[in-house]
Subunit: 265 residues, 4 copies
Amino acid sequence: MWMHATCYLEFNTPVATPFLFMLRPRSGWQQWVSREQYVLTPSVPVVEFTDTFGNLCQRLVAPAGRFSVHTSVDIETAEASDTAAGAHFVEVQQLPDDTLPFLLPSRFCEADRFSEMAASIVTGWAPGYDQCTAIVDYIRQTKRYAPGTGQEINSACEVNERHQAVCRDMAHLGIACCRALSIPARMVVGYFEHLQPMDLHAWFEAYVGGRWYTFDPTQGDHQGGRVAIAYGRDAADVAIYTQFGDPVELLRMDVAVERMDEPSY
Amino acid sequence: MWMHATCYLEFNTPVATPFLFMLRPRSGWQQWVSREQYVLTPSVPVVEFTDTFGNLCQRLVAPAGRFSVHTSVDIETAEASDTAAGAHFVEVQQLPDDTLPFLLPSRFCEADRFSEMAASIVTGWAPGYDQCTAIVDYIRQTKRYAPGTGQEINSACEVNERHQAVCRDMAHLGIACCRALSIPARMVVGYFEHLQPMDLHAWFEAYVGGRWYTFDPTQGDHQGGRVAIAYGRDAADVAIYTQFGDPVELLRMDVAVERMDEPSY
Amino acid sequence: MWMHATCYLEFNTPVATPFLFMLRPRSGWQQWVSREQYVLTPSVPVVEFTDTFGNLCQRLVAPAGRFSVHTSVDIETAEASDTAAGAHFVEVQQLPDDTLPFLLPSRFCEADRFSEMAASIVTGWAPGYDQCTAIVDYIRQTKRYAPGTGQEINSACEVNERHQAVCRDMAHLGIACCRALSIPARMVVGYFEHLQPMDLHAWFEAYVGGRWYTFDPTQGDHQGGRVAIAYGRDAADVAIYTQFGDPVELLRMDVAVERMDEPSY
Amino acid sequence: MWMHATCYLEFNTPVATPFLFMLRPRSGWQQWVSREQYVLTPSVPVVEFTDTFGNLCQRLVAPAGRFSVHTSVDIETAEASDTAAGAHFVEVQQLPDDTLPFLLPSRFCEADRFSEMAASIVTGWAPGYDQCTAIVDYIRQTKRYAPGTGQEINSACEVNERHQAVCRDMAHLGIACCRALSIPARMVVGYFEHLQPMDLHAWFEAYVGGRWYTFDPTQGDHQGGRVAIAYGRDAADVAIYTQFGDPVELLRMDVAVERMDEPSY
């Protein structure tokens, strides 16, 4: 299926401010970018590079005053994410090298503190995919999804002490539990067509049965088109924008996602 | 300045045929892609990856029958390439690691055969940028630029035995001579606004004075906007399409390049 | 100067256990490995790969029973680390791409929580190297170095609430403060000749004045030979061994470091 | 099995001369380096980096006068290379991304010129491993292995016009034919225990049946321990030393390979 997604950001920057953006979905084996737009107003010099997770990152200095970024993408992606109940746990010694960083604890996923809790949650479940499902079910049952409440990023430990959380932070908890079971897990930030209210979304992927599978603690099932914008260990790696120096004001952020017909020429 | 460039390719593929395309200019420190389009007709699954030179490459299997690729890009680039007469030769031991592959001989740039000729051409010139200029001047004086005559790729040695060549093959000769002098040199394929007749273009870059500079044996000076599509050691690395299996027919190839106003939202 | 360093690890593994080791110092621009030994007893199959920080990592499955790793290295390194009082702060937009991951918060360096504290510590100091020195001085003045007390890894926030810490955790605090000031900072684990008692050591590097400089909150000055074994964002990235599955017993760990004559053949 | 291999190089360098060496076998999934030595006489500063093929490369400037490099390695490797008669051809669209550069023509493997010849050689053979075997058989039947005669590197085309060749150049011919059939093939330079007279050796690997397999046109079968020192597209990528500037004299080159007992501590 084809989706059209847009993200508009507008800032008030009192002084010239360096930014790092991560707002360009890449074509890969799960999605194909057919049309894309990335307009800066005012236009400033930009340098793009690829980070160690494969994300396309844009570096620029926003001038003093109003500064806006408007991106959009026409992209082909799956109608629904793949599922694979029963997919096996991959022994650590068999994991591909590039999955190993996703076994380690990270800023917002303190996997080293979740061994007992994760073991408890998955008691009775077969190692692998089904453990991930058990973790997602546990999160859904114990945390209330409260979109729009997440000004401050909460780590898995912090989410664990609360009753509600945003998508990003619930993903942190899921990731920390997976890693505590030696299942590689990574954060994904992206577009999701059914989000209410519309916003950027975050979920996670776990490596079981020989590939990455999508898990989403805040959305009820695996239906619906997704567009991955960035991958990383947790929210620290995949901020759609990182701003350096004195804080600037985000005046406006609009996200829109809709299905579209196949593009033609 | 802003440029709008398009490339349209149409094939007749008797049987399903694997292709590798390299048709997506990247944003980098010299150019910024603001809008882009990449439409396949019919639409087929594509996987994109980044090769070791940083090029975005698209892998797909074209179905039997007609198959077309239409790409376009809105891109900001410089009005004219930088020049730096007198820029110094960088001692081999000071070269950045990632320039070293561009010192070695490659399929179409047999640098190992050009030591004497290169030394002879640059006699009396200061090591570095001025040597590159001398090489380009030599090529211009001794070879006639004959666009459209290059069905078969000619290596530097082969160009050396002929009186005329296409842009790609004249670049091969320039690259081979630079490398023979221990100056890293790489092939660039891309768009150039002043080409007559319009087509894709090829030139080369040499690493002197601490950065890459543009050299173009077939265009008279450094004026004019350029868009790099792909970088590599020679034409073998930067084919805009590589087709595997039985040969297919290229029915049509159209390239267009024009200046445009700055995009806005 | 030349150093000979050895690390011996012995484990009791009740069941076959996957390990990830990071025990092979690399030759780079600061150190040259002239002789090296890496003996596993019993000998088991090993696969080595390079992680995203450039570290050589060894993957293996330790069999049930006693398992030991004995590594040694003859290496040339500097008599003392370089210092550069006054070296300037590098504007974020000028930083090399590969330093950017070292600006982000990480598992044990919650840089996002240290903006105020770091700003307070460096009041009056010139941006760059001197700020790093002020941070190191602050740590030395407020925390007691207590080698051997660090069974559990403490993050910068945790160190901040304590009066004493080990080298690794004091480095966490230094790194978090540097990053809070937009100075890239990374963890180094390695050998240091003057350690009392001898052990593996940890310090950090900050990117100022256009290169990485060594800072060591627990050692009084920059004298003494150092051998870097691994680089990373914090202790999570540079564990000399990571063990998966049920915990195993480390029976013995011996580290020895001494100066040696230049090797000859 | 365990092997001990040494390589000694001695040069007479009239003036200080930059060198690039590739003399450090890496541990990987096929071999494990347990002890290693790399002594330069006189000792000079060295910088090591990893090239795009994963080879460890050493950069240095040899001072005027005598300069020698003595390397040795204790390494575990297989008694004999794996064989897999019947292993299937991997469709181009299924090949891993990192095998694709080994499909392209390169300096000494002009695969673009071998389509007809390769097709003719493999007539009647099943696509994949058996085609590679047919190619190796063809080379053995038509070219005489003449060790020690290869001062100048010959490309596949050049070998094709001769009756005899060295191991390196016979590998070029095998590689060119494989690539012409869309089978990725790469050059390996390394140690081989049964070589007569002892020297460094070269062979090639082809990617069939989902992995790389060893093929050696100059040695009768797959018996015998091999140590890979470097991988590349052809001899241009894997020169054990590349010397820049005026030619220097190689006074002596000694290679020794022997089996050894498992190392212990």
